[in-house]
Amino acid sequence: MFKKDISPGAKSKVKSSAQRAIRSKVIEQYPKLEPYIDDILPKKEQLDLVKLPDRVSLYTLGATPLFFQHMDDPLLPHLTLVHKYPDSFQLLRIDRGAIRFVLSGATLMVPGLTSAGGRLPDDDADEEGRYGDEDLEAGEVVVVEAEGKDHACMVGVLKVGTKEMREKKKGIACEAGHYLGDGLWGLG
């Protein structure tokens, strides 16, 4: 989605009514962010909207990017926000071999998640239950961690459900993501 460098477009203030709507949308989409919502989106501070290419809107607080959105699709968190609140998102994990592909902007493929180093929900190797125990449907927003790394490297929307991934073990897992080092990262 942001493979090229981005030159941000016009920046405008978000009206307080719209700001409230975004706040409740964030809570609705990411209920586990609710305890921190006043830190993330302080009620009294001005939220800005920055227009990005291809009909993407980026919401920022001062110089801090928070969420971005393609048209009316779900709000996706900027990776710097993910790094601050990693446990508040639905997580998956790719194996080490897939990292360099993801960081070069390639589409995330299923084998990167289903191999020994990868993690899906309800994974036997996931003893702490970090990746949840319920399967995810296509269209859900996921944060992708990486084997051997502490910080997530990608945010994206699932192309197929995790149950199907486990059965087929191939194909596209996640498209149009935001990854470490991409154009959107460069704005952070």
Partner: protein
């Protein structure tokens, strides 16, 4: 899981690499590993010791097949070369780019001052235009230039003042790269 969200734990403080901007554990995938490592050693020695220990490197390698290791190595070399050439290019661009401050005669004794070429020095043109407006208490606007890029037009003859202001306030602008020129209206015969 439930009590994991005690309020003092978040937001997590994250260290980002001063060279490539990623979390340092991801520096190995970029083209600037050498520089990244030096930076980390200087700024966060404890983290450096952990990430760049022999043990860590071996562990990273062992989780990849031999073939994948070779590919990764080749990939890393390519990336390094790319990063190096991009940097050289940016440097060259900086060295050869010029900011033009043009005095333009609009009417007799009425002038505007146009400033071009700021973008090559990583300046935010809109912001600079605002700064000009504030500093000189005058109209300052951004317009597109036919050949691509944007210029700032300031009301009044402010060439010298803008020259000084640029050099004093924007540290990335070297004096040699700023040029003052005059754009005279064609003189009416006689």
């Amino acid at each position: 899981m439930a009590e994991a969200s005690s309020s003092s734990e978040f937001p997590k403080k994250v260290i980002y690499c001063g060279v490539c901007s990623l979390p340092p554990e991801y520096c190995e995938f970029g083209g600037t590993v050498k520089k990244c490592e030096e930076w980390l050693e200087q700024h966060h020695p404890d983290m450096h010791a952990k990430l760049y220990s022999q043990e860590a490197i071996e562990q990273n390698m062992s989780s990849l097949s031999l073939e994948a290791q070779k590919r990764a190595e080749k990939d890393a070399q390519k990336k390094a070369a790319k990063a190096a050439s991009a940097e050289a290019k940016a440097q060259e661009q900086r060295a050869t780019s010029k900011i033009l401050i043009k005095r333009i005669e609009r009417n007799k004794r009425k002038y505007v001052t146009a400033v071009q070429g700021l973008e090559a020095f990583g300046l935010d043109i809109k912001k600079v235009a605002k700064d000009f407006g504030k500093k000189f208490a005058t109209g300052s606007s951004v317009t597109k230039v036919p050949g691509g890029g944007e210029e700032i037009t300031v009301q009044g003859d402010l060439s010298d003042d803008i020259f000084d202001f640029l050099l004093d306030n924007y540290k990335d602008v070297p004096e040699d790269n700023v040029e003052l020129i005059e754009d005279k209206k064609k003189k009416a015969a006689g």
